[in-house]
Amino acid sequence: MKENIEQLREAFLTEIQTVKNLQELDALRVKYLGRKGQLQAYFKQLGQVDPADRPQIGRLLNELKQLFERTIAEYKSRFREEDTGEWIDLTLPGRKPPVARKHPLTQVLDEIKSIFQSLGFTIADGPEVETDYYNFEALNIPKLHPARDMQDTLYVTEDILLRTHTSPVQIRVMESQPPPVRIIAPGRVYRRDTPDASHSPFFHQVEGLCVDQGISFADLKAVISEFARRMFGEDIQVRFRPSFFPFTEPSLEYDFNCVFCRGKGCRVCKQTGWMEISGAGMVDPNVFKAVGYDPEIYTGYAFGMGVDRIAMLKFAIDDIRLFFENDMRFLRQF
């Protein structure tokens, strides 16, 4: 009996290779697996087998049945697939949904916002058309300061102007709430500059402000350094240089390692290894007085950065006007 089973197996495997289509496959199935098929005949003979051998023979028959079924199913799938066989050119391009992107400045701003939000900063906002008070006066910028000149600032009336920085948002936020404050104020600002490769009469800033008891320059240094690391990579160095702004004291400017040469010196950074980013400092006591915070109790830092400038550094863009021409061949690169 064992030998017969083995022969049946061989015969099946030989015969199935000659099958050419679904009809022949079905005939084969009937022949081997049908109710009157060959396998069934052996099952019927099982009762006559020596009871000692019966379990083993039974198992062999069941295995054979499974093999037949499995093999036939495989052939069936193969024939069906070939059946639908219309040839298609796989090299044609697909039906592509329209692809669009955020403006590169938005992409950079998104990154800046998410870094500062993860550091606990809230996004604050204020009008683009401001009063002299919020843009200058409350920020300790004296009446005759050159920045207030009609040459540099766009005015609507003597008292109303297009904000020259997002710092007025600082004042508005501090007026509206007691410390602690931890905000960034992103937004569009305006200067009376004639457009050229490095100047645009409007551009985008992010102003940061943190006020609480015991906030120090060491905190400012930490927050700027952490921003640099997350924005441009682990190995970026930050340098602080003393400077002057009316609304901070001490005031400083901060530079990052050149993102192209990583500080070695190259054409982009004019061999200095550094790129000037922006200004920062500890909030001037006069600013606190303007908003009614007690400078004896609270200290704070403020910093600014240019979104356009950071984007230019990040993407090696040498002309700021490209951002606002909105040529699709430019925008599609980001």
Binding site: P93, R95, P97, P98, V99, A100, R101, K102, L105, T106, D110, G120, T122, I123, P127, E128, V129, E130, L144, P146, D149, M150, L154, Y155, V156, T157, I160, R182, Y190, R192, P201, F202, G214, S216, F217, A218, D219, K221, A222, S225, R239, F240, R241, P242, S243, F244, E249, P250, L252, M282, P285, T299, F324, E325, N326, D327, M328, R329, L331, R332
Partner: protein
């Protein structure tokens, strides 16, 4: 401010590399924008003497010069108008290569041999421009190489961006003080000494200050019998090194001392002053005055005027007058050194439009107590260089004395502000490096540092001299758990994501637009800018769609015609009264034009039409779960023919549609453009944060189709409204799955095919229930619209 490295050596021992010094200065707050090497070595350029000048035989404007260069006599063709016999001049001999890139060769100029070139300062790279050849002093040694004859030494010019709070650094001594602090070396200030003669200055001139608020101090010295002439080369070179032209020894000394001390000085020709008197007063409205650059100014009230007994002779602190200027025949001098209030000079200099070396220093605040020092230093140099006798003493009117301030050295407060742990003694040592003496816990601030008045100001001095790089960044921060979230900003981000997801590209455009053109196009007033950069940026926009039209125009002109763009930005509405801020809204606008799909093998080859833009809006509203929008016929400056406004919960949130032909024509784009603009604040306020789960229906739905023929002009929305009215809540949904016009339909009619979905949350519907409703629908459509079953 340009600072000469060699000049600094007069005040502090310097051996540090100039570039390294520049970096160190930057790190303590004096940003060196550039280091310029002045290497003054000119191979093959020697000192020559012009022996003879004759007319060039073939050219009117050229001269033929015979020049003695010591070892030879050269014939040189020269084009300069100022060449004269007897002059000592720099001669570039054959083989010389000039800094401007000119190689000197033996050449024939208009047929005449020329064996070199007589040079101007500009040609030697010493000046930006020159009027003619450089005439050297008569005692310059003949035949010697020029650099050697003039004792040139390589110098480095540091161009320092001095911040406006540091007027003390607008002189070499001020910078040297910082350098000395960096290097921890002593500062050496010159000690002026000179003999004085009788009578005393007071006996000869008087000083009367009538406006002590704007001029708290005015000191005059008198020097008699000076000889006005050219300055010695060392002085000329120092002035030139920092970009100032030499004029004559008297004027040059005043400029030199200003560049040294930061205190501007002015020399009057004493004999041109009437009445032996200086009167300082404020101008009257409309007074006229001619400054030494020969310009006449009409003065406003309150400008400080320096006058003699009769007339104004200078605009105080800004510029001297033509009527009292030192000239070659001047013998006697009144040397002015004064302190003017910064506010007064700022105001006057601004309206006069004069930015002089003097005004730029006075308006930042000079040292009221350095007036006499600078005056004495200049007097000493005048005696040295122009001879003369100094009358004894100065006439020093100082009606508003300014005293040094004291600031308590609150070292703990400074440590808190900086994050440092310095002791009071350490801080005192740091401050003393820049002449801030500490006594009994008080910092004595000299009057040359008007910027230091508060503890925070001291903190800055400590920080920059201690070194910002030496203060470690804080390792941890204390942060409140309660952090406000700006949900509106997050919403704007989501809108951007959704639009980009729909394949619409974000753009950012200028908020400033041509006010006149836009108010014509929109029929609305535009918020104007008082001092615009140009007509094209003379106002703030009151919509975004016109900006997007501009973007389309730009791209179409560059052969990019399939465009799907959006912008989220602010618009500004004129408040009626310009003394009020405009109302600002944040809008979303978009514009679609060109082919629906790129022209590829699968493209339908169809242009974007109304239903693309409407679909975009519907999908957009769906994304934000703004259900049941209402669409209302709409018309404005931009859209009208195929245009709708969108209302949600009774609130109008925006509009969209096909751009009017006039606007298309204005922007010169042929292909139809579809635009929309929405007020995002309003949309934001309509969003429902809470969402509640509704069970998914457990019972199968039944769908039925129905096609009816109706008049062409009957709106689908009306049909659907009536269908809904004719049934109940079991009708879950109605779709239009086909619109047909054509052969099998009467002209002026259309066939609309609906699919209805009936469903109950409670049971499986019976055939009868559904049929009942289908009958009711058909009946209603027949009654209302004379619809025919197709």
């Amino acid at each position: 401010m340009k600072v000469s490295y060699n000049w600094l050596k007069d005040y502090v021992d310097l051996d540090v590399d100039p570039y390294l010094l520049a970096e160190k200065l930057s790190l303590i707050g004096f940003e060196v924008e550039e280091v310029i090497e002045r290497r003054l070595d000119f191979p093959h350029v020697v000192v020559g003497k012009v022996l003879q000048v004759t007319r060039h035989p073939n050219a009117d404007k050229l001269s033929l010069c015979q020049v003695d260069v010591g070892d030879a006599r050269l014939q040189i063709v020269c084009g300069a108008p100022n060449v004269e016999e007897g002059q000592r001049v720099p001669v570039a001999r054959v083989g010389a290569e000039l800094p401007i890139g000119l190689k000197i060769k033996r050449a024939k100029i208009r047929g005449v041999e020329s064996e070199g070139m007589i040079c101007s300062e500009q040609e030697l790279g010493l000046a930006e421009s020159s009027d003619g050849i450089w005439v050297l002093p008569d005692d310059t040694p003949l035949g010697k190489p020029l650099a050697e004859a003039l004792e040139f030494e390589t110098d480095f010019i540091l161009d320092i961006g001095v911040t406006p709070n540091r007027p003390d650094a607008l002189g070499h001594i001020g910078i040297a003080r910082e350098v000395a602090a960096i290097l921890n070396r002593p500062l050496r200030k010159p000690r002026p000494e000179f003999p004085e003669v009788q009578p005393s200055a007071e006996e000869v001139v008087g000083v009367e200050i009538q406006s002590p608020d704007s001029c708290p101090r005015y000191a005059a010295r008198v020097i008699r019998n000076v000889t006005v002439g050219p300055s010695p080369l060392w002085l000329v070179r120092r002035l030139e090194a920092v970009g100032m032209r030499a004029i004559n020894n008297v004027v040059d000394v005043t400029n030199y001392v200003m560049l040294e001390t930061g205190q501007p000085l002015h020399a009057f020709d004493l004999d041109l002053l009437e009445g032996g008197k200086i009167v300082v007063r404020e101008s009257r409205q409309g007074e006229k005055f001619v400054t030494l650059d020969e310009k006449e100014h009409t003065l406003q009230e309150g400008t400080v005027l320096i006058c003699d007994a009769q007339k104004p002779v200078a605009i105080g602190g800004i510029m001297g007058g033509l009527n009292s200027e030192v000239r070659s025949q001047t013998r006697n001098i009144l040397l002015e050194s004064a302190y003017f209030s910064p506010e007064s000079i700022q105001r006057s200099a601004r309206y006069l439009g004069i930015k002089s070396e003097a005004s730029q220093r006075f308006e930042k605040g000079t040292d009221p107590n350095g007036v006499r020092y600078a005056q004495d230093r200049a007097t000493q140099l005048l005696v040295q260089l122009a001879g003369g006798e100094v009358l004894q003493g100065a006439v020093d009117a100082y009606p508003r004395r300014i005293f040094p301030v004291k600031i308590p050295l609150k070292h703990q407060q400074i440590n808190t502000l900086l994050g440092t742990r310095l002791s009071a003694e350490e801080m005192a040592r740091i401050l003393e490096r820049i002449e801030l003496k500490v006594e009994d816990g008080q910092v004595m601030v000299p009057t040359f540092r008007p910027d230091l008045t508060r503890v925070a100001d001291l903190a800055e001095e400590v920080a920059r001299l201690y070194g910002l790089e030496n203060i470690p960044a804080a390792p941890v921060t204390r942060m409140p758990y309660r952090v406000a979230v700006n949900r509106f900003d997050a919403f704007l981000d989501r809108v951007r994501d959704v639009m980009v997801g729909f394949g619409v590209q974000e753009v950012l455009t200028n908020s400033m637009i041509n006010a006149q053109r836009w108010s014509e196009l929109t029929g609305e007033p535009v918020y104007p800018i008082l001092n615009p950069i140009s007509q094209d940026m003379s106002g703030l926009r009151n919509n975004l769609v016109l900006s997007l039209m501009g973007v389309i125009q730009w791209n179409v002109n560059r052969q990019i015609r399939d465009l799907r763009i959006f912008e989220i930005n602010r618009v500004f509405y004129h408040p009626g009264d310009l003394n009020r801020q405009p109302r600002e809204e944040i809008h979303l606008a978009f514009a679609l034009t060109g082919n629906r799909e790129p022209e590829l093998w699968y493209s339908s080859r169809q242009l974007i039409d109304f239903y693309d833009v409407k679909g975009l809006i519907e999908a957009w509203l769906d994304k934000f779960s703004l259900d049941k929008p209402e669409f209302i016929y709409y018309d404005n400056f931009a859209v009208g023919k195929e245009a709708l406004a969108v209302r949600v919960k009774g609130q109008q949130i925006g509009f969209f549609g096909r751009v009017k032909q006039a606007i298309q024509d204005f922007f010169d784009v042929e292909t139809p453009i579809y635009v929309g603009e929405f007020d995002l604040k309003r949309v934001f306020e309509l969003l429902t944060e809470e969402k509640q789960y509704r069970p998914i229906p457990r019972f199968p739905w039944v769908d039925r189709d129905l096609a009816v023929v109706v008049d062409e002009t009957i709106e689908v929305a009306e049909l659907i409204r009536e269908i809904r009215n004719a049934t109940d809540a079991l009708l879950q949904d109605v779709f239009v799955f086909d619109i047909y016009r054509g052969k099998q339909i009467e002209a002026g009619k259309k066939s609309v095919a609906f699919r209805f979905i009936f469903q109950s949350p409670e049971r499986t519907l019976t055939e009868e229930e559904v049929n009942q409703r289908m009958d009711a629908i058909l009946k209603r459509l027949r009654d209302k619209f004379q619809a025919k079953l197709r």
